[in-house]
């Protein structure tokens, strides 16, 4: 564990060097511990692949760095969580993105091979971020790893399926972005009209960390009509 200063009232915990299954489990263990026994003054926790941000109420905890020894002791003693095997959620996709050729060329594959390989993997949601409900999915077939575009696009349509480095993901809202767009999903995975304060507003996010996801290619009916 390494603690990184990140401005007043906050500290960032570096809990893994490499992303992957082990880091994910470690992250879930830390999150569970912080949720069940929240340290005094903790306001919000933001998890990512290898680091977790802890933000405190600055009136209650003026110097977050001062409580690191306490946090470290608590997290070291935390019981490891066991995650249930999550069901596979299927997401229908049409592979017709503008960067299919680029992904194929850079990886010396044909376009149909790119699509086949992308749909063959059962992915795991490592984290949500970037935009509401945007899933960072791994582990992507090594032959599909593709660097981000040299110049990000100013506008990527909602529902775009894309590859960025060693991850694949889904743009949940229209936004700028530099990932390679290979397709689009048919049903939104982020829908603010789903769920309510009463029933649980997290229902607006279809995918959650730990979920398993499979892309199911469909033919574009409009194209064949």
């Amino acid at each position: 564990m390494k603690w990184i200063p990140y401005g007043p009232g906050a500290v960032m915990l570096h809990f893994a060097d490499k992303l992957g299954e082990k880091a994910f489990l470690r992250c879930q263990t830390i999150l569970a511990e912080l949720e069940q026994h929240p340290p005094y003054g903790l306001l919000e926790v933001v998890p990512a692949f290898t680091r977790i941000l802890l933000e405190f109420d600055r009136n209650l905890v003026p110097d977050a760095l001062a409580i690191i020894p306490h946090l470290e002791a608590q997290l070291k003693a935390a019981a490891k969580v066991k995650l249930p095997r999550m069901p596979v959620k299927e997401v229908s996709v049409i592979y017709d993105g503008p960067d299919l050729e680029r992904v194929a060329e850079l990886n010396r594959l044909t376009v149909p091979e790119v699509c086949r390989r992308h749909a063959a993997t059962t992915y795991k949601v490592y984290m949500l971020g970037f935009s509401p409900g945007f899933p960072y999915l791994g582990d992507l077939d090594r032959r599909l790893h593709t660097p981000r575009l040299p110049v990000p696009r100013p506008r990527i349509p909602e529902g775009s399926v894309a590859i960025g480095g060693e991850h694949t993901g889904i743009y949940t809202i229209e936004s700028p972005g530099g990932w390679n767009i290979i397709g689009r999903i048919l049903e939104p995975i982020y829908d603010p009209s789903r769920g309510s304060a009463l029933s649980g507003e997290e229902a607006m996010f279809l995918l959650r960390p730990g979920d398993r996801v499979k892309f199911v290619p469909v033919r574009d009916r409009r194209a064949s009509a």
Binding site: Y6, G7, A48, M127, L128, G129, S131, G133, P192
Partner: protein, 287 residues
Amino acid sequence: MKLQIVELHDCGLGVSIQDTGRHGWRKFGVPVSGSMDDHAADWANRLLGNGPEAPVLELLLQGAKLEMLEDAWIAVTGADANCNVATWRAVRATKGDVIQFSRSVSGVWTYIAVEGGFECARFLGSASMFARGKLGFPCATGSILERTHGERFKLQSGVAGRFTPMNERRNYDSPLTLKMWRGPQWDLFTENDRGAFFSQQWTVSPDSDRVGYRLSGTPLTADSTQIISEPVRVGSVQIPEGGSPIVIMRDGPPVGGYPKLGIIDPTDISWLAQCRPGRTLKFQPAE
């Protein structure tokens, strides 16, 4: 019963409802949002005895026009947009009054609070508008806003008025130096780059919005190291490829892969928020 208080006749360059932000949902990828200038928004509420979390109207630059639908106390703070209502004080408005923000004079964001606060649906616990994420009530021409059923504001008897003290009213054109703390990637930058960052004047670029403020100047030479995507706090000074800083503002993504040289002291973010494109500013180390 609905307590209709204001009708929007014109949104000008932009009107949105904001509060202190949407907390606890960044792990779902939802930005904090909330008032860009929390200092001015807070004063608008304080002048009327509202709680700090009461929703306010946030206006961008100029052009907004609204009509009072009842007699009520209001307060206008923040950027000077040549408003026909006295600012930084509680004002008793009368039904039929038309409030206009005709011309941006200084600053960027103006705030309007009404007594009791605007009545507004909460999305993920907050009334703050996050337009791209379709969270919040979208204000449009013709929108009618309501106030809460709270107790009505009253000036204490014998008190002439309620004003923001002079030292709390801000001049958004005054020379600006922002305090910056070290960010998670401070060590990735060379001594030269850090020196150049603090010694030069940066100019706020027109390409700035609620997501981030871009700064132009002599770019840093930072090599384009991509880091593993990690949490990003509001106020972070990111240095993307090209070396020109982007300061993450309230609608900025909760995680990102650009190196962060530093983070602006939370109490200084409101100063940056009010910087119009073309304004120059400097940074100084907070430590």
